[in-house]
Amino acid sequence: MTSPSFPMGPITELRGRAVVVAGDDIDTDRIIPARFLKCVTFDGLGEQVFADDRAERPGEHPLDRPEVQGASLLVVNRNFGCGSSREHAPQALMRWGIRAVVGESFAEIFYGNCLALGIPCFTASHDTVLSLQSALAAAPAQELQVSLDPAAVELSDGRRWDLELQSGPRQMLLTGQWDATSQLLAHGAELERTARALPYLNGF
């Protein structure tokens, strides 16, 4: 498998197969156990994603099923990515091949970390996510199309569900401005003005 290139520029839609990792409150320690954080680059993390969960059920974990190898969409349930702020978690998912996540809800830091990598986290109702998950269970190898504006997912048989994507992140992804650094650097003068007005930086 050759890993597709990492997200760059405007992101309007994604096509690919999907992998379902079901369950609420899946924390970032499970996505990437702490021992794999002993590194000074993110390079090797793709192979270690969900390492302990996968070792617990060799060959049976959703990420190890042959029909989803090369999948680029991840479907999850509630509060995905809770716990540690480690960006290693979305980095590991991205390096495995994930380019978008659909779930009922996300932990905030995880959501922001994904956005900083150009990975949209779409939300949908409990019923929508369950419908999507059961459609994927019935036909796991099918190709899906996910669009950002309007936010929606479409199955290969034409079934389609609306998704939600917060307007700010959607705008940033559509315009390719999801990487905040250049925007932040553009306001040097305003930044120094803010700093000059802060009592704790100016002897109170």
Binding site: G23, R30, E87, M172, L184
Partner: protein, 469 residues
């Protein structure tokens, strides 16, 4: 929409600009870094040809990977050594202060910044670590960030952020003897759930909060993130100011009086508007222990592991997963659960008062046969203060190991870890599957005094029975 809260005031003071996507550029007053989440950020800066905009506003220490037995360099683990060496090189290259091993100021990042007086009311504090919420104890707006955001703070001293809603958690009454801030926060998370705080900042207020020491407030705010709230805070008051006065980086002289006046003005006023409010009664809270695999799966030490019928229908799949993983029987009392390892430490409960509370239980008693029990002070300063009081002697006489400061078995990035299916009584913050270094290891979260009680009994025990009445 909230108005007039400390969160609103601090947010407004730090707003730099509105960004095209609708988020706000927020100035970061204090940026804390450590060896785990910063190396890739420095590498990204280099790739982009950027420098550190305000190196004087970033402070570094090393905590996650340090061994707690011998801290001699080079570390036995070459990866750990490489991480610390990388941090040292990055700090030297960019002119960032590093409080390193043996400096007298090293320790867990959320322990050292408060004790050095770096964390102050009214600041925005960011760090590549979710427990940055700890610093909210001072009336700062403090939150964890990812490595791309660490890069952004280094490059621009600011972040692209969305404003949170504010929920006030009003706590009446008083914590009873043997019940600590840890029990209060575990009770809050048990009540509101691990997702209950998503989208909110938590303001902790009310008589029970006013009565907490600064170290207790840090324990409380530390675990706001375990309830889903990215930041939690307590309004600054006389307790805050008394803690700060005289610390190395706190204001002094005439500036002190001006600082206190400004800090006082930041507190949420009587007319403050909150997006939500929840009330608790501290008096009724018992020592609390987790039985499952999220910090929300907690019960009083005098309760039984909930049966499936007692669990909210939405939470039942997670409860079933927890029964399987923890191998605890629904309906069984949590007291009496045998433990293998007892860990006192972490950014949640590794401060002097935590060690004092545990030592009060350990004094004159002994760890049960076959139990591994160890105490990891949160910082070099905590270790020195504890040793000056003889707490290290109390612990070692009772059969606990007395270690060097670091994050240790909270997340087991150093050699301290569970083996196989061992079960720990732990004063840390997360009982996630595999959290303490073994993919099948199990964690029971509780207060440091409860950990000491578990060590002595060899099983989960009600610490109130060991305290003088």
């Amino acid at each position: 929409m909230s108005a007039g809260t400390l969160y609103d005031k601090v947010w407004d003071l730090h707003r730099v600009a509105e960004l095209p996507g609708g988020s706000t550029q927020l100035f970061i007053g204090l940026h804390l870094i450590h060896e785990v989440t910063s190396p890739q950020a420095f590498a990204a800066l280099k790739d982009l040809g950027l420098s550190v905009r305000h190196p004087e506003r970033t402070v570094a220490t090393v905590d996650h990977i340090v061994p707690t037995t011998s801290q001699a360099r080079p570390f036995a683990d070459p990866l750990a050594e490489e991480m610390l060496a990388t941090l040292e090189a990055n700090c030297a290259a960019h002119g960032i202060t590093l409080h390193g091993l043996g400096s007298g100021r090293q320790g867990i990042v959320h322990v050292i910044a408060p004790e050095l007086g770096l964390t102050q009311p009214g600041m925005t504090v960011a760090c590549g670590d979710s427990h940055t919420s700890t610093h909210g104890a001072f009336g700062a707006i403090a939150f964890g960030i990812g490595t791309s955001q660490v890069r952004d703070v280094l490059a621009s001293q600011s972040l692209s952020m969305g404003k949170l809603k504010v929920r006030r958690l009003w706590v009446e009454g008083q914590l009873q003897p043997g019940v600590y801030a840890k029990d209060l926060v575990l009770h809050v998370i048990r009540t509101l759930g691990v997702k209950g705080g998503v989208g909110y900042a938590y303001e902790f207020a009310g008589p029970a909060i006013d009565a907490l020491s600064m170290e207790e407030r840090m324990t409380l705010c530390n675990m706001a993130i375990e309830g889903g709230a990215r930041c939690g805070y307590v309004n600054p008051d006389a307790v805050t100011f008394a803690y700060l006065q005289g610390r190395p980086f706190a204001p002094s002289g005439e500036a002190w009086e001006r600082a206190v006046a400004w800090w006082t003005s930041l507190a949420s006023g009587p007319d403050a508007v909150f997006d939500d409010e929840v009330c608790f009664d501290a008096t009724s809270i018992a020592p609390t222990v987790t039985w499952g695999i999220t910090p929300g799966q907690g019960i009083g030490v005098d309760e039984t592991v909930p049966t499936l019928e007692q669990v909210d229908p939405d939470e039942r799949p997670l409860a079933e997963e927890a029964y399987r993983y923890m191998d605890l029987r629904p309906g069984a009392p949590i007291a009496g659960t045998p433990v293998d390892v007892c860990f006192i430490g972490s950014c949640t409960n590794g401060r002097l008062s935590d060690l004092q509370a545990a030592a009060a239980v350990a004094r004159g008693r002994h760890v049960a046969p076959g139990i591994k029990a160890f105490v990891v002070p949160g910082s070099e300063q905590v270790a020195a203060a504890a040793e000056a009081e003889g707490l290290d002697q109390v612990f070692t006489a009772a059969g606990f190991e007395w270690r060097e400061p670091g994050c240790s078995m909270c997340l087991a990035m150093n050699p301290d870890r569970l083996e196989g299916r061992q079960i720990s009584a732990s004063s840390s913050n997360r009982n996630f599957k595999g959290r303490q270094g073994s993919a099948t290891g199990r964690t029971l979260l509780m207060s440091p005094a409860m950990v000491a009680a578990a060590a002595i009994a060899g099983q989960v025990s009600d610490v109130r029975q060991l305290l003088p009445t």
